[in-house]
């Protein structure tokens, strides 16, 4: 399980990206009549159903289905923007204004028309400190007056500076509208909006689907929104069944009582292929990565600063006794045989298909423009790693099998998520490979919330964790010098300068040069031992057709899914 920032990033990912021309290829497949129900197994109930507040991956998937956005996103080598509430969009010549042409035929599920005010209220709510939106950063580059209603059909976002158009478009147009005819009422207190029934139980729909039932702890049911214009979806109903335990979800899938399950483990995928031919396996692409991150500052000093009520500055913190040295981090990476990990833990024993590729960056290889970054991965070289460590003063002076320096053994504990079979398996391999070079590594599994807190407080030596990558390049959050989420306190002025330059660069070609240079610098610094990108397996019952489970979300093109009339399972 990736830590909580994954969810936040998934959210951003669920928000799409940009190109200058709108593709109107969004009509659902004509297909057979709406006949069947898709039953999806999910871990837990949604929490927040208003887009300024939504946080979990399931929240985001759900509101993406029920809520219209200015634009919709698809991914094919890069983010592409498609019409939704906006029928088209255009950029000003100076690259600082984005104008949306809005439709007038959308309506909320209670019958009220969708109006431009729904968009401007969305921005107000996101910016209002009383609301406490997780999306405030999305609008950071907008002028305070934005968005501006130009006329009843055109709305304009003005930016304070030029920046990468994909991120600017994604940040502003991939958020679901909010119903201003209810939330715009002065009697609705902004500070209490989290408790509003629109957020907690009964959301209004402006998208293709409408929530018709939510039985807490049991299921969430969606049906096509009859008020959404255009051809209806190809399914009669989508039911998300809440099944917290992975093993129970898998059994329900095998027995045919759920039709879709995300994040299937590789070992289970083999069994599904062999014993359940009616279940088809799909892969989503390289979105999530695992790595071991090295804390470059002294956690005790950071803790002391926090306890003194100060906000620690990574640049002023004493270095970590083990991992501040780049050569040491490189040696630890050289001792890891990533290809063996992929072969042993992430490759199908039955088909030989690998569900992971080696990772060298925080930027997903799905982004074609920055894929060819010129990085040559470090060779697996335990002898070279030993020699590197020896040059840094770490040798086994007492013959106990653990290298030491000045009487201090090279020993550390890495935290990792509790309950992840993959982390458990891979950690055993890592432990063995580091042991071979005289490094004593222990792993401590920690529950999700506590793991996030330990990372946030820098209370660890190393962390075996991961990111879910953004679908446009902006490393500010994960590697930016002052970012709270730069858990490993990575600092390199050259890399920071490239981040600052890259996010403002409007020429795609120049931006790609910057990001490739950035990736090479980060790889040389090895703030992480990069391991692999996972190709997440999604299992879907074979009766469904047109099942494109994409990189953005398995449900991103759900309106196109169909079932042949002779295969319909649920006729009610």
């Amino acid at each position: 399980m990736h830590h909580r920032y994954s969810a936040a990033l998934i959210g951003l990912l669920a928000l799409g990206a940009c190109s200058t021309a709108v593709d109107d290829d969004v009509a659902p497949a004509a297909g057979p009549a709406r006949l069947d129900t898709l039953v999806v197994g999910v871990k837990m109930d949604p929490n927040d159903l208003l887009s300024p507040l939504s946080q979990s991956a399931f929240d985001l998937s759900l509101i993406d289905l029920i809520g219209a956005k200015p634009l919709k996103a698809e991914f094919d080598c890069e983010l592409r923007f498609l019409p939704d509430y906006a029928s088209s969009y255009s950029w000003s010549e100076d690259g600082k204004s984005l104008t949306l042409e809005l439709r007038e035929d959308l309506a909320w599920s209670d019958g009220a028309p969708v109006v431009p005010r729904d968009l401007s209220l969305l921005a107000e709510l996101i910016r209002d400190p009383a609301v406490g939106s997780l999306r405030a950063g999305n609008l950071a580059l907008l002028t305070p007056e934005s968005p501006v209603l130009v006329d009843p059909r055109h709305l304009r976002y003005d930016f304070t500076a030029k920046a990468d158009r994909t991120s600017m478009t994604a940040n502003t147009t991939l958020l679901q509208l909010v119903p201003s005819h209810i939330l715009g009422d002065p009697s609705v207190e902004r500070a209490a909006i989290r408790s509003h029934s629109l957020n907690t139980t009964s959301p209004l729909s402006s998208g293709r689907w409408v929530m018709t039932a939510w039985e807490k702890g049991k299921s969430v049911t969606l049906e096509p929104n009859s008020k959404y214009p255009g051809p209806p979806p190809g399914l009669a109903r989508v039911v998300f069944r809440i099944i917290p335990e992975y093993a129970a979800r898998l059994l329900e899938l095998q027995q045919g009582r759920i039709d879709l399950m995300e994040a299937v483990q590789v070992a289970d995928a083999d069994a599904l292929v062999k014993e359940h031919p009616g279940i088809k396996l799909h892969t989503r692409g390289y979105r999530a990565q695992d790595y071991v991150g090295w804390n470059s500052i002294d956690p005790a000093a950071w803790k002391a600063e926090l306890e003194a009520g100060k906000k620690p500055d990574p640049a002023k913190m004493p270095p970590h006794p083990l991992f501040a040295n780049t050569d040491v981090r490189r040696a630890l990476s050289m001792a890891v045989d990533v290809n063996r990990i992929i072969a042993d833990a992430l490759t199908s024993k039955a088909s030989g298909k690998a569900y992971a590729v080696r990772s060298v960056s925080t930027i997903t290889p799905e982004l074609c423009a920055t894929r060819e970054n010129g990085i040559t991965p470090l060779n697996y070289d335990p002898e070279g790693a030993r020699a590197e460590l020896a040059r840094a003063g770490w040798t086994d002076t007492n013959g106990d099998g653990v290298i030491d320096r000045d009487g201090v053994p090279f020993r550390f504990t890495a935290i990792m998520p509790l309950g992840s079979a993959r982390h458990l398996l891979v950690s055993a391999i890592l432990q063995e490979q580091w042991k071979a070079i005289g490094v004593d590594a222990q792993f401590e599994a920690i529950a999700g919330g506590a793991m996030g807190e330990r990372l946030r407080r820098r209370d660890f030596d190393a962390a075996f964790t991961g990111w879910s990558a953004g679908l446009w390049v902006d490393p500010t959050t994960v590697l930016g010098r002052t970012s709270e989420s730069n858990f490993f306190s990575y600092q390199n002025p050259k890399a920071q300068a490239l981040i600052d330059e890259g996010v403002r660069e409007t020429s795609p070609a120049r931006a790609n040069e910057i990001w490739n240079q950035f990736q090479r610098i980060v790889y040389d610094d090895q703030p992480y031992t990069f391991l692999y990108w996972l190709d997440e397996i999604v299992a879907v019952n074979g009766r469904f057709e047109n099942t494109d489970v994409g990189l953005i979300s398995p449900f991103n093109k759900l309106e196109r899914w169909t079932v042949a009339p002779d295969k319909v399972k649920y006729k009610q």
């Binding site: 929490n47 406490g132 049911t221 099944i243 917290p244 129970a248 095998q254 027995q255 807190e453």
Partner: protein
């Protein structure tokens, strides 16, 4: 209840992090982050948090869930019926299996059957309930492939009684088997004691059938302590429900608790523990009353 409240508060305090760290973006504007944390009560000093927790016990105002944004009472009341149904079903199954098993063991005391059941019940009692449930889930799936074995009835269909029973079967059986092992051992001991009593010897001397001696004379007296056993089993049933509800996707209080612990939602954790403590206290009192009613020798004043 006060002891439970204090202990629970200490446990919640020991957990790293809080729900505010999940709900509020730490990379957001720091003034906003601070204001939101203050509004949600995450930044109050420990003594203040303690007083708030104690006040909630006294006033029964359990506050709002930080992660779900609804009153804690709403979450508890919504989930209570499912836990009650599961818990009662588990107790009934436990006694339905454990009672005859214990009687049969006592009657065949020292024979291979007694030994075999003792080993089996000890093995079941030693199994973590998660492992027991998972095993039953796989077994049930193999034996009844068409039965819905987890969760609650299909949302958009009106469930039949049979379908409801199918959903309940495995979680209740898991809880029941876990308590049946203890029941059997308890009944066995009580029956062995009863079978050695003079009145049993007298009954046999009067020429009554062995079945009548065992089931009417010995069992009737051996059963009295088991009424109190129900009260003692309530904490076990509730803690078992926490695991069972997650494994079998049963939407009860245990599920609410697990989610709250995972998200660091202190008000909900405290609320569920208060609720559990109250249920155990009420259950214990009721079983004491039941025991007094069933056995005139027991008086409440004693």
């Amino acid at each position: 209840m006060v002891a439970v409240a204090v202990l629970t508060w200490l446990l919640v305090e020991a957990l790293p992090g809080d729900a505010c760290t999940v709900v509020i973006d730490p990379d957001g504007d720091q003034a906003t982050v601070a204001a939101m944390r203050a509004a949600m009560g995450c930044d109050a000093p420990a003594p203040v948090r303690f007083l708030i927790a104690m006040r909630s016990l006294v006033t029964l105002d359990l506050g709002m869930s930080i992660s779900k944004h609804v009153p804690v009472w709403t979450l508890l009341v919504e989930a209570l019926p499912a836990t009650v149904v599961l818990g009662l079903s588990g107790l009934v199954i436990g006694h339905a299996i454990g009672l005859p098993m214990g009687v049969a063991q006592a009657v065949r005391h020292g024979r291979p059957f007694d030994l075999g059941v003792s080993v089996a019940s000890l093995s079941v009692a030693s199994l973590p309930i998660f492992a027991l449930g998972l095993g039953l889930l796989h077994l049930g799936s193999a034996l009844f492939p068409s039965w819905p074995l987890t969760g609650s009835p299909t949302p958009w269909l009106v469930p039949t009684v049979a379908e409801r029973a199918q959903h309940l079967m495995l979680p209740a059986l898991t809880l029941g088997l876990a308590s049946a092992a203890g029941d059997a051992r308890f009944i066995r001991g009580a029956m062995l004691g009863a079978l050695r009593q003079d009145y049993v010897r007298t009954a046999r001397a009067k020429g009554l059938s062995e079945a009548r001696v065992v089931l009417v004379h010995a069992l009737r007296n051996a059963l009295l302590p088991t009424i109190a056993l129900v009260g003692l089993q309530l904490p076990g049933v509730l803690s078992g429900a926490v695991v069972c509800e997650s494994l079998f996707a049963w939407p009860g209080l245990g599920r609410v608790l697990v989610e709250a612990v995972q998200s660091g939602d202190a008000p909900v954790v405290l609320g569920v523990f208060y609720f559990f403590a109250a249920l155990v206290a009420i259950g214990g009192a009721l079983t004491e009353l039941g025991a007094a009613w069933a056995d005139p020798r027991i008086r409440l004043s004693e």
